[in-house]
C-alpha cells in the first residue's frame, strides 16, 4: 500500500500543469469556470491545441496517434485539466468511436477515420438511444435494409448529445429481426449531410438544447460504412460502453464543483456571517466532501488496478453511482447556497456571445440550471438502476 505517486508520475503532472499554464486560453477557462456555454469553435480550438501537443487521445495507443498513457497518467491529466477549468474533450470521436474502430474496424476504416478524428475533420455524435429504448437498448427499432451496396436507414434516434454540431453519427441499427433482440443489430457510420437526415433539438429542463432527436428517412449509407460484421453490433456497443466508463466517477468535475461551492459559501452571507460558517450548511458541505475523499480513493484503486492491466468489474458500477450522486449533491448544495438568486432564469446571459447582464452575482446564474441539467448524470450512460442491477448480479449471483 502506498498512496503517493511515483517520481515519474509527479514529473508528468508537472509537465501537464506547465502545458496548461502556457497553452490553455484564459478565454476558454473563464467560460468553463463560469459555466457559460461553449461554442463549437471553442471545442475545436481546444482539441487542436491538444492535438498539436499529441495529447488529444489519452486512451489511444501510440500507433494510432494516441498518447499511449496508462490509467494513472490519464487520471493525472484529467485531474489537472479539470482543476485548470479546461474544456472537457468531446468524447464521441475520441473516447467512443475511436476505440471501437481500433478494435473492430477494417484497415481502410482505421486509416481514413482515425486521423480525421484527431484533426477535427469530423464532429461525431452517438446514435444509440431511441424513444422507448433507453436502458433497454436491445429493443431498438431504427432499421437498415440492405439494397445493393447500400443500407437504407429509416427510424429515429434520440438523446443525441451535441448532434447539432455533428456531421457524422455512429448508429446502432436493426439489420435483422431474427433470433434474440440483441442479435440483429449492426454498427453503422452515417453522414449527417445525407438527404433524409433531420436533426431536431430537444430543449431540456434547464432550458438548454444540448441533446437532439435525429430522424432518418430512406437514408442511403454505403456498405463500407458498416463496422465489423453485420448483426454483431451489440458486441461492439458493449465494448464501447466499457470504454465510455473510463473516468466514470468524474472525480475532477466533482472537485471543481466542490471548490466552486465552497467559494460561493464564503461569499454568501446568512445572519450576517459567511454561509460556510453556518453549522448546518457547513456540515452538509463537509459530508459531501468526506464522501468525495473516499470516492476519489476508490477511483484511484480502480485506476491503479487498470494501469496494471486488471479489468474493473462491479467497481465501475459503484463508481458510477457514487460519483453521480456526489456531483448531484454538490449541485444541489450550490443551488441552495445562492439563495433567492437561484430563481432568475436569465439563460440568455449564459449563451455564447451574450451581452445580457446576469441578475445577482455571476456565480448564481448557472446554479439552478446546472442542478437540473445534472439530474441526467444518474440517468444516462447506464442509469444508476442499471448499475445496481449489475452490482447485485455480480455479488448475489442470482
Amino acid at each position: 500500500m502506498d498512496l503517493s505517486y511515483t517520481d515519474e508520475q509527479n514529473a508528468f503532472r508537472a509537465e501537464v500543469r506547465a502545458f496548461l499554464d502556457e497553452k490553455l486560453p484564459e478565454r476558454l477557462s473563464d467560460k468553463v469556470r463560469l459555466r457559460h456555454e461553449l461554442t463549437k469553435e471553442d471545442h475545436e480550438e481546444w482539441h487542436a491545441i491538444l492535438n498539436e501537443r499529441g495529447w488529444l487521445a489519452g486512451n489511444w495507443p501510440k500507433k494510432y496517434g494516441g498518447t499511449g498513457w496508462d490509467a494513472v497518467q490519464r487520471h493525472i491529466f484529467e485531474e489537472e485539466t479539470t482543476a485548470a477549468h479546461a474544456p472537457r474533450i468531446v468524447p464521441f470521436g475520441i473516447n467512443m468511436l475511436g476505440p471501437v474502430l481500433q478494435q473492430f474496424g477494417s484497415e481502410d476504416q482505421k486509416d481514413y477515420w482515425l486521423p480525421r478524428i484527431l484533426n477535427g475533420d469530423d464532429w461525431w455524435c452517438q446514435g444509440y438511444s431511441e424513444p422507448g429504448a433507453g436502458s433497454d437498448l436491445a429493443s431498438l427499432k431504427c432499421e437498415a435494409k440492405r439494397d445493393g451496396d447500400h443500407y437504407v436507414v429509416n427510424g429515429q434516434k434520440t438523446w443525441t448529445t451535441l448532434g447539432q454540431h455533428a456531421n457524422m453519427i455512429f448508429c446502432l441499427v436493426r439489420t435483422s429481426k431474427e433470433g434474440k433482440p440483441q442479435e440483429g443489430i449492426s454498427f453503422l457510420l452515417i453522414d449527417m449531410n445525407d438527404p433524409g437526415v433531420e436533426v431536431r433539438p430537444i430543449v431540456l429542463i434547464d432550458g438548454g438544447a444540448e441533446v437532439n432527436e435525429v430522424w432518418f428517412k430512406d437514408v442511403r449509407v454505403p456498405v463500407e460504412n458498416l463496422v465489423g460484421e453485420e448483426n454483431k453490433g451489440w458486441t461492439y456497443a458493449k465494448y464501447l460502453l466499457t470504454h465510455e466508463r473510463t473516468n466514470i466517477a468524474g472525480v475532477g468535475f466533482a472537485n471543481a464543483a466542490l471548490e466552486n461551492l465552497k467559494r460561493i459559501a464564503r461569499l454568501e452571507h446568512s445572519h450576517g456571517r459567511p454561509l460556510i460558517e453556518d453549522p448546518l450548511f457547513a456540515a452538509k458541505v463537509a459530508e459531501v466532501e468526506i464522501a468525495l475523499m473516499a470516492m476519489a480513493t476508490t477511483n484511484l484503486r480502480v485506476v491503479s488496478a487498470a494501469a496494471e492491466g486488471q479489468a474493473p468489474g462491479a467497481e465501475s458500477s459503484m463508481l458510477k453511482i457514487k460519483g453521480t450522486v456526489i456531483r448531484q449533491e454538490i449541485n444541489a448544495l450550490t443551488r441552495e447556497a445562492v439563495g433567492p438568486y437561484a430563481m432568475p432564469f436569465v439563460s440568455e446571459a449564459l449563451e455564447p456571445g451574450s451581452n445580457v447582464e446576469p441578475v445577482g452575482p455571476d456565480y448564481a446564474l448557472p446554479a439552478a440550471a446546472t442542478y437540473f441539467n445534472n439530474r441526467k448524470l444518474s440517468i444516462y450512460g447506464g442509469s444508476n438502476e442499471v448499475q445496481k442491477t449489475i452490482i447485485s448480479k455480480a455479488i448475489l449471483e442470482l
Binding site: 438511444s129 422507448g132 433507453g134 436502458s135 433497454d136 429493443s139 434520440t158 438523446w159 430537444i202 430543449v203 431540456l204 429542463i205 432550458g207 454568501e268 452571507h269 446568512s270 445572519h271 450576517g272 453556518d278 453549522p279 448546518l280 450548511f281 452538509k284 448531484q328 444541489a332 443551488r335 441552495e336 439563495g339 433567492p340 438568486y341 437561484a342 430563481m343 432568475p344 432564469f345 436569465v346 441578475v359 445577482g360 439552478a368 440550471a369 442542478y371 437540473f372 439530474r375 441526467k376 444518474s378 440517468i379 444516462y380 442509469s383 444508476n384 438502476e385 445496481k388
Partner: protein
C-alpha cells in the same frame, strides 16, 4: 377535530380544479412561457371572477375567506395545475395593506379582489438572503411624504403589479427588528427602476432599484417587523400548500408513467424497486400534507407557536420537495428531463419553493434554536 373541508371550501376546490384544468392546458402554458408577463390574463381574470382572490381575504377585509385553510385550498389547486399566476404575492402584500392601511389605502383591496390591480411585496434585498430583519433600503421623511432609496432583490410579479408594498428602514441598524416600516409605492413611480425577468418557477420576478421614490407610509413608523413576520408566515403557508399541489402533480405524472411505460416487456411499475420508491414518495407527500395542515391550522396562534410551525412546515416541505423532484425525474428517465414534458415545469417550480421565505436548512436551524430557547 375535523379534517374534512367545509362545504364552501369543497366547492371552491372543485370549481378551481375544473377551471384550472380547462384554462391552463399545454397550449396556454406555452403561451405564458413565451409571453412577457409570466402569467395568463385569461386565467387571472377567471380566477378573480370565481372569487378566488376574494377567498384570500376575510369578510372584514372585503373578502369571504382569509383563514389558513382557505389559503391551503386555493394554493394546493394552483400548485396542482402548475399555475404561475401571481396570486401568492397578494397574500403578504394584500394582507399587510388590510392589516396596516388607512381606510383610503384599504380601498385598494376591492380592486385587488376584482382582479384589476396586481400586487407585489418587495422586502428581500441583495445579500439579505432569508433574514427578515435585514433591510438596508432607507426611507427619508420630508414633512408628510417619504422617499425610498435602496435595492430590492428577486421580487416576484413586481413588473406586473400596479402597487408594490415596500419595506424600508426609518431607524435602527441594518439587521435590527426595530425601525422597519412599510410603504405603498406606485409601480410607475419616478425613480423606480424595475428589471423584469423570467424565473425558474415559470413566472416573472424583478430587481428593483429605488432612487428617491415617493411612497406612502403603511401603518405606523418603525414597528412593521412583527407584521412582516406575520405576513411571511401566511405567505409561507400559501407557498407550502402550493408545493403540496405540485408534489401531487409530480406523483400523478410519475404514477401514470410507471403504468404506461414498458421496459423488458412489462410496465416499469411492475419493478419492485420502483414500486417501493413510489411508496416512499407517497409516504413523504402524506407527511407534507399534514405539515401544511399544521401550519394553516396555527396561523392564528400566538407568535411563538405560529413561527414554530412555520419553520417545521417549511423545513419538511423543502426536504420532501427535493425527494419528489429528484425521484420523479429519475423514475421517468430521459423524458423527465425534457422541457416539453409537463414534469419539467412542475419540477422547476416545486424546486424553487425552497428558495423563498427560507430553505429547508435555514428552517431546520431556526426550529432547533426556537426549541432550545423555549
Amino acid at each position: 377535530m375535523k379534517f374534512d373541508l367545509t362545504e364552501e371550501r369543497q366547492m371552491l376546490q372543485d370549481g378551481l380544479r375544473r377551471f384550472l384544468a380547462d384554462t391552463l392546458d399545454k397550449k396556454a402554458r406555452e403561451a405564458v412561457a413565451e409571453g412577457d408577463t409570466g402569467y395568463s390574463q385569461e386565467a387571472w381574470d377567471g380566477l378573480a371572477e370565481m372569487g378566488v382572490i376574494g377567498a384570500l381575504f376575510t369578510e372584514d377585509e372585503g373578502g369571504f375567506g382569509g383563514a389558513g385553510f382557505d389559503l391551503s385550498v386555493v394554493f394546493e389547486e394552483l400548485g396542482r395545475a402548475g399555475a404561475t399566476e401571481p396570486l401568492l404575492e397578494i397574500v403578504p402584500a394584500g394582507g399587510l395593506i388590510a392589516r396596516r392601511g388607512s381606510d383610503a389605502q384599504k380601498a385598494l383591496i376591492e380592486d385587488v379582489i376584482a382582479g384589476s390591480t396586481m400586487l407585489a411585496f418587495a422586502h428581500g434585498e441583495p445579500g439579505s438572503r432569508y433574514d427578515l430583519s435585514r433591510v438596508a433600503t432607507e426611507a427619508r421623511r420630508d414633512g408628510d411624504t417619504y422617499t425610498l432609496t435602496g435595492r430590492k432583490a428577486v421580487v416576484p410579479a413586481a413588473g406586473q403589479a400596479g402597487k408594490i408594498v415596500v419595506s424600508a428602514r426609518t431607524g435602527g441598524d441594518v439587521a435590527d427588528e426595530d425601525g422597519l416600516s412599510l410603504f405603498l409605492v406606485d409601480a410607475d413611480a419616478d425613480g423606480l427602476d424595475i428589471r423584469d425577468y423570467r424565473t425558474m418557477a415559470g413566472g416573472h420576478a424583478a430587481e428593483l432599484a429605488l432612487d428617491g421614490v415617493t411612497a406612502e407610509l403603511l401603518g405606523g413608523e418603525g414597528d412593521a417587523y412583527a407584521d412582516i413576520e406575520w405576513a411571511t408566515a401566511r405567505a409561507t403557508a400559501a407557498l407550502s400548500a402550493e408545493a403540496l399541489g405540485l408534489m401531487e402533480a409530480c406523483r400523478k405524472l410519475t404514477a401514470d408513467y410507471l403504468k404506461q411505460r414498458t421496459q423488458f416487456g412489462r410496465p416499469i411499475g411492475k419493478f419492485q424497486a420502483l414500486q417501493f420508491r413510489m411508496a416512499d414518495m407517497l409516504v413523504e407527500i402524506e407527511q407534507a400534507r399534514s405539515a401544511v395542515i399544521n401550519l394553516c391550522g396555527h396561523l392564528e396562534a400566538d407568535r411563538d407557536t405560529r413561527e414554530l410551525h412555520v419553520s417545521a412546515t417549511k423545513q419538511l416541505i423543502g426536504k420532501v420537495a427535493k425527494l419528489v423532484v429528484e425521484e420523479s425525474i429519475q423514475m421517468h428517465g430521459g423524458i423527465g428531463m425534457t422541457q416539453e414534458y409537463d414534469l419539467a415545469h412542475i419540477a422547476r417550480r416545486l424546486t424553487m419553493a425552497d428558495h423563498r421565505f427560507g430553505d429547508s436548512t435555514y428552517h431546520l436551524g431556526r426550529f432547533a434554536r426556537m426549541r432550545a430557547a423555549a
